[in-house]
């Protein structure tokens, strides 16, 4: 840790230990800090020097692995790219991502997202199998632009913590997974849209969304998941009515 210039900030952390607690409580730590220290580094300081039992996830510390999401003063943020200096001198409160079950302290159970990710068939379903010897698909920069933005999702789950509809109804597939669903549907190499529309069309699909759009607001990678979701309401509506006009194979 760098030498500090004498500044100390109060970090209030939610604590919950499933082995001993029935409900969470808060604990406040006084952390010396420098202006280049992130909230994550603050938590690491606590773990190294003040209380080794404080539990949180992190890995890349450069905003790309998606591990370190949490609520900082009630807003979903990546703790590695949120800086302590912005909360000085009032201090800050760090909590686990809301809407998810707390496993311990700041770590939440991400299983629900992982199950949903599987349900959207997150892989290219090609028209016909293509041997490697045939080389790559051709894809122009413009065709790439159709899905590229949605392929930037780091699965950080901030959008899920931002979405009250997900909080109210966990059946909802949710913004992050739907953004990836759209990413594959919009890829010129993919022919799996009809299969994925089954999920889109269901109540659990896009219909849980009421366009709160806070998901897009907090997304650290500017993916605009709300757009992926809501664009697919239109797709689903077309699918609903057009099947009467032009029935498809697997309608």
């Amino acid at each position: 840790m760098n030498a500090t210039n004498g500044k100390v900030i109060a970090i209030e952390c939610l604590r919950y230990d499933p082995q001993t607690d029935d409900a969470p409580h808060y604990e406040t730590y006084q952390v010396p800090f420098t202006d280049d220290m992130s909230v994550l580094q603050g938590l690491q300081y606590i773990k190294d020097h003040l209380d080794g039992s404080l539990t949180f996830r992190w890995s890349c510390r450069m905003a790309i692995c998606g591990s370190c999401g949490g609520m900082v003063n009630g807003v979903p943020r990546l703790s590695c790219e949120t800086f302590l200096r912005d909360f000085y001198p009032e201090g800050l409160r760090v909590e686990p991502l809301t809407h998810f079950p707390i496993q311990r302290d700041l770590a939440v159970d991400q299983t629900d997202f992982l199950v949903k990710l599987r349900s959207i068939k997150p892989y290219i379903i090609p028209e016909a199998p293509k041997p490697v010897t045939e080389g790559t698909f051709l894809q122009t920069p413009q065709q790439m632009d159709e899905y590229y933005q949605y392929s930037q999702c780091i699965n950080c789950l901030l959008c899920y913590a931002a979405c009250p509809q997900y909080g109210l109804d966990r059946e909802f597939t949710g913004p992050g997974a739907l953004a990836l669903l759209h990413r594959y549907n919009a890829d010129s190499r993919d022919a799996g849209k009809a299969e994925r529309m089954e999920l889109v069309n269901a109540d659990e699909g896009v219909w849980g969304c009421t366009l709160v759009s806070y998901c897009s607001e907090v997304c650290p990678k500017s993916i605009d998941p709300a757009r992926a979701v809501n664009q697919n309401k239109v797709e689903s509506t077309k699918d609903y009515f057009l099947r009467f006009v032009a029935p498809r194979r697997n309608g």
Partner: protein, 587 residues
């Protein structure tokens, strides 16, 4: 203790592990492939790789060129047979990633585009903006959902390789959420656990890069090869160590000292052309660039900053448009973590530990010396990197050798007879010992031991090494090992999600792997690639054109053995950079 039966166990969900899992499942879809990882796969460190992956692609390139760049880049310590296999299979693996959806950068006509990287004659790096590792990892992770044979065990921390009578029986792991021990039983195990950069203080690596697989294999009696070769990356953000990819320089960024002078011309990397020249100046290899920094620092020509000495990485002349199109992550990271707008100001950077060239000894089929154990990715030493890895060879290595490891492990599992007898006999004592750590009431703080180790590694086994400093580090590591053995006192005594406990277990591996690094470095009395000795400044092909092997000897310091380097077509020459290269055509 729960026992989970499978056919192939893959430890590690990074690029190498995922590719191996897919390959095993493709080999035979009935195989039960258990993918065990201490983080959910997409959190693995591969996610942070920026620049791209190398494969011969353009008409003016050839397998021979890629081979030569790799072998000379590795200062002739590469196993050339492995390099030949590698360059020959690189392209098809990148094409496969493309078929699986990786958004590689394209030319206007829809073909994949390539860029320059340090030490290359011809551009051959496939890139997905400067988020190549991110896209490769997510492509592999998402594609793995297609294979019902792959069963994932996310957030299971592997603590021991179970070996019985010279054969692999499986691994012992801790389910992180509950702290329960679980035995995974299978005839073949692939280690794809990544590098070990976290044993140094200043590094570009994620927190999970703690050399676990190397440590576990080493403890099971497998040798660690070429561990003295630790690559420093010349351009990292000050303080955090966050990487400013080589692709910056591939796109034309320059390095200047505090006087605004392109100092690389003073270190045999010139001439200074008005245009970028392959393998010259900023496009020289990483070891040379990091070493040049060290000399500048000694000459007092680096910038003095509160976070230490630095040089400037200047992108300004590339213009806002190109920066935002080709290097968006760099621009964002420089802004967020250093407050620098790289369109207007140069980025202050310094070298940081980046990549372990060595690792678990394997042959070109990814087999270790222990039947049933395979290794791939950064934790393995299949022999393609030699004394210094060429940028963008590692991501390709993950898919080329990840596939080999997966296929070989599957093959082995299909042929292996099922062994009788309980694995619990091996697992139980290990579990009991680890549980004991939770009960220590005496001992030091974990962070104290860890920080001393990191500092000592940086001092003794950094960019430049000497006998004296290395000996000091070796002594320190032994001391830390015995302090560790006396006991670490944990604040956290519970089992559910006890990350302090897991970090303590990691530290055990890190201390041992650090010893392998320091002792291998001490014994290599020459300078080669990333291993530079101030007391032995020349490469010595007579005595040291050979791989080092660190073998564990219990509580003692490791024994350093040697094995020959496989040379097929290229015999050692002087490494030349700068000079005769031709003009780079930047696309």
């Amino acid at each position: 203790m729960q026992i989970i039966q499978s056919d192939v166990i893959i430890v590690g969900g990074g690029g190498a592990g995922l590719r191996a899992a897919i390959a095993a499942s493709e080999r035979d879809s009935r195989l039960r492939v258990a993918l065990v990882s201490k983080v959910v796969p997409m959190r693995s460190h591969t996610v942070a790789a920026e620049g791209g992956a190398a494969a011969v692609t353009r008409g003016d390139d050839s397998l021979q060129y890629h081979f030569e760049d790799t072998v000379s880049g590795g200062d002739w310590l590469c196993d050339q047979q492995a390099v030949e296999y590698f360059v020959a299979h690189a392209h098809e693996e990148l094409v496969r990633l493309e078929h699986w959806g990786c958004p590689w950068g394209r030319q206007p006509d829809g073909h994949v585009n390539v860029r320059y990287f340090g030490g290359m004659k011809v551009p051959r790096t496939w890139y997905a903006a400067d988020r190549s590792g991110f896209h490769i990892l997510h492509t592999l992770f998402q594609t793995s959902h297609k294979y019902p044979g792959i069963k994932r065990y996310d957030e299971y921390f592997c603590v021991e390789l179970l070996v019985d009578d010279g054969h692999v029986r499986g691994v012992l792991a801790i389910e992180i959420a509950t702290g329960e021990f679980v035995v995974f039983e299978a005839p073949s195990v692939v280690f794809a656990t990544g590098g070990v950069g976290r044993v140094f203080r200043s590094n570009t690596n994620a927190g999970t890069v703690t050399g676990d697989g190397m440590g576990l294999a080493y403890r099971a009696g497998v040798a660690l090869r070429d561990m003295e070769f630790m690559q420093y990356h010349p351009t990292c953000l000050l303080g955090t160590g966050i990487l400013m990819t080589e692709a910056c320089r591939g796109e034309g960024a320059v390095l200047t000292n505090k006087d605004g002078y392109r100092y690389l011309q003073d270190y045999g990397l010139g001439p200074l052309d008005p245009w970028p020249r392959p393998k010259a100046m900023e496009l020289g290899p990483r070891d040379r660039l990091s070493q040049a920094f060290w000399h500048e620092m000694k000459k007092g020509r680096t910038l003095e900053t509160p976070q230490g000495p630095a040089v400037n990485l200047d992108l300004r002349h590339l213009g806002a448009k190109k920066i935002h199109e080709r290097l968006p992550l760099i621009a964002e990271a420089a802004k967020t973590f250093s407050g620098v707008d790289c369109v207007r100001e140069p980025i202050p950077v310094c070298p940081g530990v980046h990549y372990m060239m060595g690792g678990i000894l394997t042959n070109v089929r990814c087999e270790t010396t222990l039947p049933g154990l395979y290794a791939a990715g950064e934790c393995a030493s299949v022999g393609i990197h030699g004394a210094n890895r060429l940028g963008s060879n590692s991501l390709t290595e993950l898919v080329v050798f990840g596939r080999v490891a997966g296929e070989q492990a599957a093959q082995f599992a299909l042929a292996a007879p099922r062994r009788a007898g309980s694995v619990l006999r091996q697992a139980q004592p290990v579990a009991d010992a680890l549980l004991g750590m939770l009960r220590n009431t005496e001992g030091e703080r974990l962070a104290a031991v860890r920080d001393e180790m990191r500092l000592s590694m940086e001092k003794g086994a950094g960019i430049y090494r000497t006998q004296e400093h290395l000996e000091e580090t070796c002594r320190k590591l032994m001391e830390l090992r015995s302090r560790y053995a006396k006991g670490i006192k944990l604040d956290d005594r519970g089992r559910a999600f006890n990350t302090e406990w897991l970090t303590a277990i990691e530290l055990r591996n890190m201390l041992e792997v650090s010893q392998a690094i320091a002792h291998s470095a001490l014994e290599r009395r020459e300078s080669r690639g990333s291993h530079q000795r101030l007391d032995h400044e020349k490469r010595d092909d007579v005595n040291f054109l050979k791989h080092s092997l660190a073998c564990r000897r219990g509580d003692e310091v490791p024994r350093i053995d040697y094995m020959p380097v496989t040379i097929t077509k290229s015999s050692p020459r002087a490494r030349v950079y700068g000079g005769e290269g031709k003009q780079v055509v930047l696309t």
